[in-house]
Symmetry: C2
Subunit: 118 residues, 2 copies
DNA sequence: TGCAATACCTTGAACCTCGAGGTATTGTGG
DNA sequence: CCACAATACCTCGAGGTTCAAGGTATTGCA
């Protein structure tokens, strides 16, 4: 079957990665996550609500996070918490991202041919 | 009008970035590029021909690279070279990527709240 | 009362990438 | 001589993401 190599869509899941990471540090709700990503990256990354909410629903469906409704300051919000499964998923995504970023960085900077010394 | 912010599809164009980078170091042909990306990243990144060829055609259409047919070892190949416009484009993409990677890295590692000291 | 901010959500279009398939040529083993 | 693998080019359809925009509802303030 032609050996399935290539990457599982290497770039995907960055929003998911960031969301899981934020939730691991602190329970948050969707609207807050949108702003947190923007402010913590100095607007380098800015995902819209149209990205965040579907990702949250998907993560919950997969059991990576759980939700509970809470009212704070007379505001009804849905807070999300990372489950242990979600924590594991975060670790995987995080490692995948690190490998990817390192590979690209290597291509961008270390251009010079090197001889492999045995 | 909600202020158009957000990123221009922040993840896209990684294949384009890598291809331009390779071509800046050395003229190459499509088939060679596919293998170069795989081998130089230790298969961490592996883009198929279905990605590379369309990108090459797009870059050429935009004047970022030029092509010329050459026969080497009785093999007919289309070699691509980066133009000055392409070089500029590479610089832009490269910087954008660096910013993005730094922002994500910051989110993944530097999680702890810090007080800004004035 | 009206408007901005908070807070949730969905949808359609646009864009990429993947995987598979198609053509043609060259070199090699049987 | 033939078949097959490797080289080398290319295109297409399916699937998955992201974006931008819009929709609903509540709260607080002028």
């Amino acid at each position: 079957m032609a050996a399935r190599d290539s990457n599982p869509n290497f770039m995907n899941g960055v929003p998911e990665l960031l969301i899981l990471r934020l939730l691991q540090q602190e329970d948050m709700y969707g609207y807050e996550i949108v702003q947190a990503i923007r402010s913590r990256t100095d607007a380098v990354i800015a995902v819209g609500e149209g990205v965040v909410y579907p990702v949250l629903h998907g993560l919950e469906r997969d059991g990576a996070i759980t939700s509970r409704r809470r009212t704070v300051n007379s505001r009804s919000r849905i807070y999300y918490s990372v489950t242990s499964a979600g924590s594991h998923r975060l670790a995987d995504l995080s490692e995948a991202w690190t490998n990817l970023a390192a590979a690209i960085q290597e291509m961008l900077t270390g251009g010079q041919r090197e001889q492999v010394i045995l």
